[in-house]
């Protein structure tokens, strides 16, 4: 049986590692290291290879949750991790400098995968920066000719992470 997996990607510090930790039944395997650059101002560590977590499905199969590094210099990991994934969750840090620009990076990079599978977008840290608002994200997607669910989320709340994954599954089913 093929590996069953979902991938979390998106901008640096948007909360991929946090989101996977919220769902995983096992301690998340993570490759966070101390940041040595401007990232430090935001948070102490950053993912350089992958995050990995697991959930057991009712029939005993494992759902594997992979997180990518956020920073674009690690883009070679993105393709590796996406191979064979059921779908993609893109997290965007709304408190970053150019959130829509960030989103575009991932949409462009994963365009083929998104068309083959699907994606759900979670905009995080909206409590820190209200703009752009969700309407701006939806407009942006329309311009890119994509119809994908967009949520405002706080990945520290498990229910928000569950919502994204359930939606991803619903998008795959219908």
């Amino acid at each position: 049986m093929k590996e069953i997996k979902l991938v979390f990607t998106g901008s640096m510090g948007a909360g991929k590692t946090t989101a996977i930790s919220a769902l995983s039944e096992i301690p998340v395997i993570n490759t966070d290291v101390n940041a040595t650059d401007e990232v430090i101002a935001r948070k102490a560590t950053t993912t350089v290879a992958l995050d990995y977590g697991e959930m057991t499905l009712p029939d005993g199969q494992k759902l594997r949750l992979y997180g990518t590094p956020g920073q674009e210099r690690f883009a070679y990991m993105w393709k590796i991790l996406m191979q064979g994934a059921l779908g993609l969750i893109i997290l965007v840090d709304n408190a970053g400098e150019n959130p829509l620009g960030d989103l575009e990076i991932y949409l462009n990079h994963f365009r083929e995968d998104i068309e083959k599978t699907t994606a759900v977008i979670g905009v995080t840290r909206m409590d820190l920066s209200k703009k752009p608002n969700l309407a701006a994200y939806n407009d942006f997607l329309r311009k890119k000719n994509l119809q994908l669910p967009v949520f405002s989320v706080d990945v520290r709340r498990k229910q928000n992470v569950v919502l994204m994954v359930q939606t991803l599954v619903a998008m795959l089913e219908y």
Partner: protein, 330 residues
């Protein structure tokens, strides 16, 4: 003439609901019930607890008791069905008031619950948001000034359009309790509406919990639609979601996610959505109304419906996806 009700072995939340329902019944219908566990003339007993059943056995001969349970298996003179519903409680209180005191004090009672709308018939539309809470909210948003809305016996709702927020007591919008459900269904004319003094705004912001107004528009439409399509809309028009509802703010049931996914990816009429998602038409209509109130749908009069079977996935994959969905419900 006063009447006193007491409770026995009720869950705390049930007792609280009971209290607010009594207030609602009193205010609306001129009854004079109050809750006092020590001096009750009549006692509501939770029969689904051992404690309650014992109390029942020892006291049924001397006292007037109301059996509160899921099923009426006690041959009780007075039975109240679980979970608590305003209408049932009200009727019961009225009936009791009549029997305890020979002088009938109850006036002719108007219906508290929303006027039951006509059933859907051959696609002729009829849900009018302006008749419900959602209409009041929309009007306040359009006016742009803050107002307090109040339904007798329930907490006030402070609506502040400039914040795009409502302020009220703590509540769990994803699981409204029976009183709140009735509240969301209530017709506009049951609410009083008071402008909020601008000097009080900051107090309100500090003292109450804030909620996105859209969540209130959404819930009141979902709750009050009763399966009746929005006036002026047609069941046969193909429709499509412009965007996926932001369910991190809008309360949802799991099947709403599936409905929304289908409606985002397909252009289809309501009957077809209902068939594809395997949800009854009224459910789809309620959802459609709520999406339309938030301006999330396109009515595609000219567009063609997405052909059937645009998407075929293997049974195995479908099973897998359902497994994942189920796992996340825990």
């Amino acid at each position: 003439m006063q009447y006193i009700l007491s409770t026995y072995a009720l869950e705390k939340s049930d007792r609280l609901f009971m209290k607010s329902m009594i207030e609602m019944a009193n205010k609306k219908f001129g009854l004079q019930w109050r809750l006092d566990d020590a001096n009750g003339q009549v006692t509501v007993v939770d029969m689904d607890t051992q404690e309650g059943r014992t109390f029942w056995e020892t006291n049924r001969a001397q006292k007037t008791l109301i059996a509160y349970a899921e099923k009426d298996t006690y041959q009780a003179t007075f039975f109240l069905e679980k979970p608590l519903k305003v209408q049932l409680v009200t009727q019961l209180l009225k009936k009791l008031a009549d029997q305890i005191n020979p002088i009938s004090i109850s006036p002719i009672i108007p219906q508290i619950a929303p006027v039951s709308p006509p059933p859907i018939s051959n696609g002729i539309a009829g849900y009018k948001p302006e008749k419900y809470l959602v209409g009041l909210l929309k009007k306040i948003i359009a006016d742009g000034k803050p107002y307090t809305l109040q339904l007798a016996g329930t907490p006030a709702l402070h609506v502040v359009p400039e914040d795009q927020m409502c302020y009220t007591v703590d509540m769990d919008l994803s699981e409204p309790n029976p009183v709140q459900k009735v509240w969301f269904k209530s017709t506009a004319n049951h609410f009083s509406k008071q402008p909020i003094d601008l000097s009080k705004l900051n107090l309100i912001r500090d003292d109450f919990t804030s909620y996105d107004i859209s969540a209130f528009l959404w819930l009141s439409t979902l709750q009050s639609s009763n399966g009746v399509l929005l006036a002026g809309h047609s069941l046969t028009n193909p429709i499509r979601l412009k965007e996926y509802p932001n369910f991190s703010i809008l309360p949802y049931d799991p099947f709403h996610l599936q409905m929304a996914a289908f409606m985002l990816k397909n252009t289809a009429s309501i009957p077809r959505i209902s068939a594809n998602i395997r949800q009854p038409m009224p459910t789809v209509i309620n959802f459609y109304n709520a999406c339309a109130v938030l301006d999330l749908v396109n009515i595609e009069k000219t567009a063609k419906e997405t052909p059937e079977a645009t998407k075929t996935i293997s049974l195995e994959k479908k099973g897998l996806l359902q497994n994942i969905f189920q796992r996340l419900m825990r």
